[in-house]
């Protein structure tokens, strides 16, 4: 593999490590953006330039920014970071990490049993992706529309600013 | 067809009495009583008109139900079924009578449940399709559960739950065995059916047969009940209302015994022979252990309940003796135990109505006040200790005589059971009717309705004791005795 892959992979892992250890959510989010960018590089190297672009634009550019805006909206400042520091005691880490490392170990063990012949990365160019997307997978695209619609309706209903909506009964009694 | 009618009469009467009860409790009771009496008359007419030379199976009735699985609505009657069904209707009618005054709340639902459970029991005795058998087997549990759980005494819910869980557990094992048999039969003959007659003589490996037989046997042992599966019984019998206790002791237990005779032995002859010593041992343990427990009880109904454990041990002993004498004894025991224990429960209920306790320590000297009741108890207590002249003696004697041919040591111990039976039986008389009486107030002795019930039972038990031949002739037709 390309050294560039290793460098990108290392950056991705390191910055993800930073994400999961930060107390301040803003820092974590920014590290996550770095991680996503590194992953984008990896994606590029695996012959998916279009996906790399989407990763940068949608993931890092849209979703993360949405999160950042949300955090800013809730105005989570220093105290939340302090609280996070209080929660993330070293011993909290031990059991989950152990468990997850076991999981990783098993996963790696199983993946390494792969007996496929070594072959190079095959580049799939964006056109092929497009052809597939609007060819055989057109129904999936339409389903994605429905998926997004569900997301929108759900977010709309849940996110509506709450009015003073007490139940009729409670209204009658309390007022 | 007439068999289906028997079931339908009960079913319709069950619904009708529930509906009618909204208007009139009395009418509801009469409907229940009437339906049972009609059925009783039908069965008796069948019995009287039946000639011994005829085919073993009468009124074979068969309609496809779920042909997909080879399940059919298959009813048939032979001597054993006839006797059991007659007993069912007889005790059923008495149960309605005994509840006449005792049950004054939710009368309609009570009779609905009572008739429904009787319908289920009748179904169990008549069906010749294993799926249908299981169906009825389970169907009778729910109304019985209600009979215990709604109209029972203080710890009724506990008792009802226990009863339900025990019998269900056994039932499910039986379901496994039924299905196992179904597939074994299907695999060997390529005919997939639940029909009893087809499943008879299913060729199978001895190992398979052993396991399948165990499935059936455990279900029936729970119902019979045999030690160590008996612990649901005292609770259920004690807590149930009088009619509930009568149906439980008189009929429900018989379904287990019936199952052993009808299914375990004929379906798995070889495996049954293998297990016989163990089953007989369980029977003997039941006889002695039940008697011992009965001796210690201070609750009248609980005491009677444990005597059931003891008496049903004879059924187990006889069923696995594999000879006709024992077999006839088992049939007799099923009937006479139903009569005598039912009678004792009825009297316990009548007594409870009068003195509002079941605690033997609070009784004593009641003979002065209740000589009629005392005489009745005396008769049935004597029945339960196996006094000749009463039906129980015939049953126990035949069982022991038969089982002696099969296993002598166990029979010796079972015979010792008669001695301990004497101990607990006489204890009843002593604690309840004899001894000093410190009650100042008078108690009403048996009233007309109770007299009718008791006299009917007394007549039957004496009839069975002095002239059991009609019963023996009827059950004789069955050549179940394997080996």
């Amino acid at each position: 593999m390309d050294p560039a892959f290793y460098i990108a992979a290392a950056i991705a892992i390191l910055s993800t490590l930073m994400v999961i250890t930060r107390y301040n959510i803003m820092h974590a989010l920014l590290y996550l953006v770095v991680s996503l960018l590194a992953v984008a590089v990896v994606l590029y190297m695996y012959g998916a330039p279009f996906m790399a672009a989407l990763e940068v634009i949608v993931y890092a550019g849209a979703i993360m920014v949405l999160l950042i805006f949300f955090v800013m909206m809730l105005n989570l400042g220093k105290e939340s970071a302090e609280r996070e520091r209080g929660w993330l005691k070293p011993r909290i880490w031990i059991f989950p990490s152990l468990l997850c490392i076991i999981l990783l170990g098993e996963l790696v063990f199983l993946v390494l049993q792969n007996r496929q012949p070594v072959s190079d990365v095959i580049i799939v160019n964006p056109k092929d992706v497009g052809m597939a997307l609007f060819g055989p997978y057109i129904i999936a695209v339409e389903l994605t529309g429905i998926l997004l619609m569900a997301g929108i309706v759900g977010a709309y209903h849940l996110g509506r600013q709450k009015q003073k909506t007490l139940h009729r009964f409670l209204e009658n009694t309390e007022v | 067809m007439i068999l289906l009618v028997l079931l339908l009469i009960l079913f319709v009467a069950a619904l009708l009495s529930w509906i009618v009860a909204a208007k009139s409790n009395l009418l509801c009771r009469w409907i229940a009583l009437g339906s049972l009496l009609i059925n009783l008359v039908i069965v008796l007419v069948i019995w009287v008109n039946h000639t011994t030379t005829a085919d073993r199976w009468w009124y074979n009735f068969r309609v496809d139900w779920i042909p997909h699985f080879g399940i059919s609505l298959h009813l048939a009657m032979d001597g054993l079924s006839l006797l059991m069904v007659a007993l069912t209707f007889f005790l059923g009618a008495l149960s309605v009578l005994i509840s006449w005054k005792e049950i004054d709340k939710r009368v309609g639902f009570f009779h609905f449940n009572l008739l429904f459970v009787l319908c289920g029991i009748t179904g169990v005795f008549l069906t010749m399709d294993l799926f249908l058998f299981y169906f009825f087997w389970e169907m009778m549990l729910i109304p019985m559960y209600f009979l215990i759980g709604i109209w029972g005494h203080e710890r009724r819910e506990y008792a009802a739950n226990k009863f339900f869980l025990f019998t269900q557990a056994g039932g499910l094992l039986m379901l496994l065995a039924i299905l196992g048999l179904y597939f074994v039969h299907g695999a060997n003959t390529h005919v997939y059916t639940f029909d009893y007659f087809d499943l008879l003589n299913t060729p199978m490996e001895p190992g398979t047969a052993r396991w399948l037989m165990l499935g059936f046997l455990i279900a029936f042992l729970v119902k019979v009940p045999a030690v160590p599966f008996h612990t649901w019984l005292p609770d259920a019998h004690t807590e149930a209302s009088t009619a509930g206790s009568v149906v439980l002791a008189g009929l429900l237990l018989k379904t287990g015994a019936y199952g052993i005779l009808r299914f375990v032995l004929p379906l798995f002859p070889a495996a049954a022979v293998e297990i016989a010593p163990l089953a007989m041992l369980l029977g003997v343990i039941g006889i002695l252990y039940g008697a011992m427990l009965a001796y210690a009880q201070t609750d009248f109904k609980r005491l009677i309940a444990y005597t059931s454990v003891s008496h049903m041990g004879f059924v187990l002993l006889g069923a696995f003796a594999f000879n006709e004498i024992a077999y006839q004894g088992v049939v007799m025991q099923m009937i006479t135990h139903g009569i005598s224990t039912g009678a004792l429960f009825i009297i316990a209920g009548a007594l409870y109505e009068r003195i509002h306790t079941r605690n033997l320590k609070q009784m004593g000297g009641l003979w002065t006040r209740l000589p009629l009741m005392g005489s009745a108890v005396m008769i049935f207590v004597m029945g339960s200790l196996g006094l000749p002249g009463l039906g129980n003696f015939i049953a126990e004697f035949l069982v022991l005589l038969g089982s002696w041919q099969a296993n002598q040591w166990l029979t010796v111990f079972a015979t010792i059971g008669l001695v301990v039976a004497t101990a607990y039986s006489l204890r009843i008389m002593q604690k309840v009717f004899f001894g000093p009486c410190d009650r100042q107030y008078t108690l009403p002795d048996l009233n007309m309705r109770e007299m009718v019930i008791i006299v009917a039972l007394v007549i039957v038990i004496f009839w069975l004791g002095f002239h059991p031949q009609p019963v023996l002739n009827t059950s004789q037709n069955i050549n179940y005795v394997v080996r």
Partner: protein, 102 residues
């Protein structure tokens, strides 16, 4: 080095996935948990692309796009829900949201 590229890519995805998993396990802040899930989803997406590059088919990349769409929808609904919860509990501590148990 002669590492199978698919294996290497899958391993990277696996490591990222597990890191997300550790994070979701140790965090109590709901936003952090949502973040961790995003890490995991992203790792899964990466795995698809890696697989796609091995077979040279576009399926994996198409799947990646759908994952992206799903992640977006998920985050939007999730944030709306977190907002509700924040209004009610006045905190983002997931342990506070444990009124139902037993």
């Amino acid at each position: 080095m002669n590492v199978h590229p698919t294996t290497a890519g899958m391993l990277l995805a696996g490591v990222l996935f597990v890191l997300g998993l550790i994070s979701i396990l140790v965090r109590r802040d709901i936003i952090f948990m949502l973040l961790s899930v995003e890490i995991m989803l992203n790792a899964a997406g990466l795995a698809f692309v890696v697989a796609s590059s091995h077979w040279g088919t576009a399926d994996g990349q198409v799947m990646f796009m759908f994952i992206l769409a799903m992640a977006a929808a998920e985050v939007s609904v999730g944030l709306a829900l977190i907002l509700q919860l924040y209004h009610q509990l006045k905190t983002l501590d997931s342990d506070e949201a444990s009124k139902m148990n037993g």
